[in-house]
Symmetry: C3
Subunit: 330 residues, 3 copies
């Protein structure tokens, strides 16, 4: 809704505390969240793990309608949100090809579409191909908007579930060592994650990536300015041995255009396999935002430190928590 | 269902009164409705505004299943119907690409498809690319069918929500002046609306449209024969100053084929902007079936007389009313 | 889930009896079922006919979530499953274009997709273009998997509803004469049906098909080895006069590639029309898996022996029964 967007402009810590309660109007970008409200959200997510288990009884969102307005398909994200809504007793209106809805097809503005859809639903989950689209939607809508990915921009619920997973698996967020591996240039996931990690104390980040997809300077500068120690490395085994979290990502073929030779070279460079597992500490975990190709070999799956499917499941709990918070409050 | 179609052939006033109660079997075309049953439907729609506000409690269609059988995409209309069903506690089976279902893909007849779908649901909402398809479906189905648009044919629920909006905004339907603006040749919306306006007394209609998309003679003749006064004009300011309702429509690019020069000329001719607002009376309203491009400028949106988003919302109430009436009766 | 697949390997009669109760973990292929568990399933399906009639009250699957994971579109099958789930109070997550989900689009394995989706739902209904895909899914999933068709492989719920329909219409499954007509080479339906018919005593099967699409030897050999009498015939009238069930199928144009002349010849060869009806006994029925083109003429529809739309409806009851059995047990 409209309130959040002005709140975003403030960008102070705990920008959505109101009185003694947090107030969450929209979920638009990772920068909205500081450690206080992250912790508060994680507590609600934890509660949701219990709610899901006895889901026939959980009906706190009964009578609420969520519209999933997807301008580009992302079945995984959509299913996760729709499952979250239904696990809480809510209902869903689905559009997976919202481009046909209006904008692209007939030239309607996003704002007009939002004004119509907000008349039919209580909350909008939007995926869009343009950066900033979720913010525009939130400025127009009188109901909450959740950004489920806006092009090269943000995918804040992914960042939240990544942080929640680290806390659940490692037990803390302060003082952790994190290896970010793979496509660090294009993956909005690792960029948002770096942002949120900077909220915590004594975090150390290692970047391990092929030269063509290295982490960009804006994030490096941001980390430096907030006092986060970071280092680039080409030695995945060494990094793995030092880290609590090895966060692997997919090299995205579509970013290489015609240069398939570069893609093939980048893709095979840093693989998480049995050797990497062997180097890793016993308590450490491997994460991945999924889908994965072969940047994590299948043999890793059976190791208890392979946490990526638990991570996907945590997406459900985080989204249940956000839906509850946006529709019912704390 | 089968009954309605014979009833349609009668075409007398109050054709679906049975005993002291109206009886509504299908919704197929605007001509089904006269002022008695229009008023009765509008009363139920008004009730639905109250029901929606406390929607967690409204479960009158719990256990009922609506199938949305869309042979061409129309996300806006589909969402409106699905929201209406779910706001009343009902459930939905969705097909947005029903062309693949059978007919086009494998050659099944519409009748066979309907016979299958009626086994899975309690009511069918159908969008089709062929005029008359909804009637054929109703003749086959043993359950109610709602026409959600059949090609160049009818879109009766749009006409109903237009009339409901005029009544809600202006307070009456007799004695009103209505300006129909834009593409009057191809828009089934304005054609159906003209039909329903003719049910009321002392209505005066002004047609304002580029020459290439003028209102066709059949509607003009119909209006004349039913005693409705109408006039063509090229002066939108003057018409706007006289009217209770300025009903703007989109010039449809797809109707012009290769002649984009004609489209561009037609499109810019009659725009509702601040100047038109200034000419309009204080109690008057601007309507539009949406989506709009720039035939209503964005600056108009904030004026209280801009009623088009309220009109879209009224579509929800009208569809809730129709679903209630078709499934539960009066 | 994982248990069923080992059970499938056993292939003994009543392979999913556990103690005194059947235990059904997945539905993957017709060969899973013997006469004991077929009869038991049919009893539950019969119960479902009663449940559907008072469906507002039937909420035994309330709180359960079914994911329909369709890698190729099949609206009819999807709607049937989704209706079944909703008629029992359950909820549905839909994907009709699951190819985009991952595998095809980004290269994710089916196994990874399943591991994610099982985190969001309680049961998976899967349609896939590759034979064996459902089994792979079941081996991975910790929740039940239903095969809703895997390419040229199996479509076991179709076979179950065919058998259920014969029992409901004819009153028995032992000692029946069945004519299988049309495309017997490519139709997985008739192949699965032959498998299940072989579970019963004194069944006699007549194959009536154009030369280019004759029943293949593997099924003939199987029938012979299990003591089922079968015969090929080119005289549909004679076969019709002897049979309890005339099971007509569509000649699938897509199987003929460029040879449209062969298709046209095959297609017109064996038509069920008034003449065939006249030859049939009074108690006999015509079945068809649908969609039909003109291999059954429309004039047949009104005859009480035309059972194909009742057969489609039985698909709902069989799927309700399977969902109940897989999620709640017997």
């Amino acid at each position: 809704g409209k309130l959040q967007c002005s709140a975003v402009d403030v960008k102070g810590p705990s920008s959505f505390i109101s009185g003694k309660k947090f107030q969450l109007d929209d979920v638009l970008e990772a920068q909205q969240f500081d450690r206080d409200n992250l912790n508060a959200i994680f507590e609600v997510a934890r509660e949701m793990e219990r709610v899901e288990k006895k889901s026939p009884e959980s009906q706190i969102l009964k009578g609420y309608l969520m519209a999933t307005l997807f301008y580009e398909p992302s079945t995984r994200t959509r299913l996760s949100f729709e499952s979250a809504m239904k696990r809480l007793g809510g209902e869903v209106l689905t559009t997976e090809n919202a481009r046909e809805f209006s904008s692209a097809a007939k030239g309607e503005t996003l704002e007009d579409t939002i004004r119509t859809v907000e008349g039919y639903s209580d909350i909008i989950v939007m995926r869009h191909f343009e950066s900033g689209a979720a913010k525009r939607a939130a400025l127009t809508a009188g109901i909450p908007v959740i950004n489920a990915g806006d092009g090269p921009g943000q995918h804040p619920t992914q960042a939240l579930l990544d942080m929640y997973t680290i806390q659940r698996e490692i037990g803390r967020l302060d003082g952790i060592n994190v290896g970010l591996v793979g496509d660090l240039a294009n993956g909005r996931t690792v960029r948002s994650l770096a942002y949120l990690l900077a909220r915590y104390k004594d975090v150390k980040i290692y970047f391990v990536s092929p030269d063509v997809v290295k982490m960009k300077d804006d994030i490096k500068d941001y980390l430096t300015s907030t006092g986060v120690e970071w280092k680039e490395s080409t030695n995945l085994v060494e990094v793995a041995s030092k880290c609590d979290v090895v966060y692997q990502t997919r090299i995205q073929r579509e970013r290489f255009g015609e240069r398939l030779d570069l893609y093939e070279a980048a893709r095979g460079k840093y693989i998480v396999d049995k050797n990497i597992l062997q180097a890793m500490q016993k308590h450490a975990v491997v994460l991945h935002p999924l889908p994965r190709l072969d940047e994590i070999t299948v043999e890793v799956d059976d190791d208890p430190r392979a946490a990526y499917f638990r991570q996907a499941k945590n997406g459900l709990y985080i989204r249940m928590a956000l839906l509850k918070l946006l529709l019912l409050g704390w």
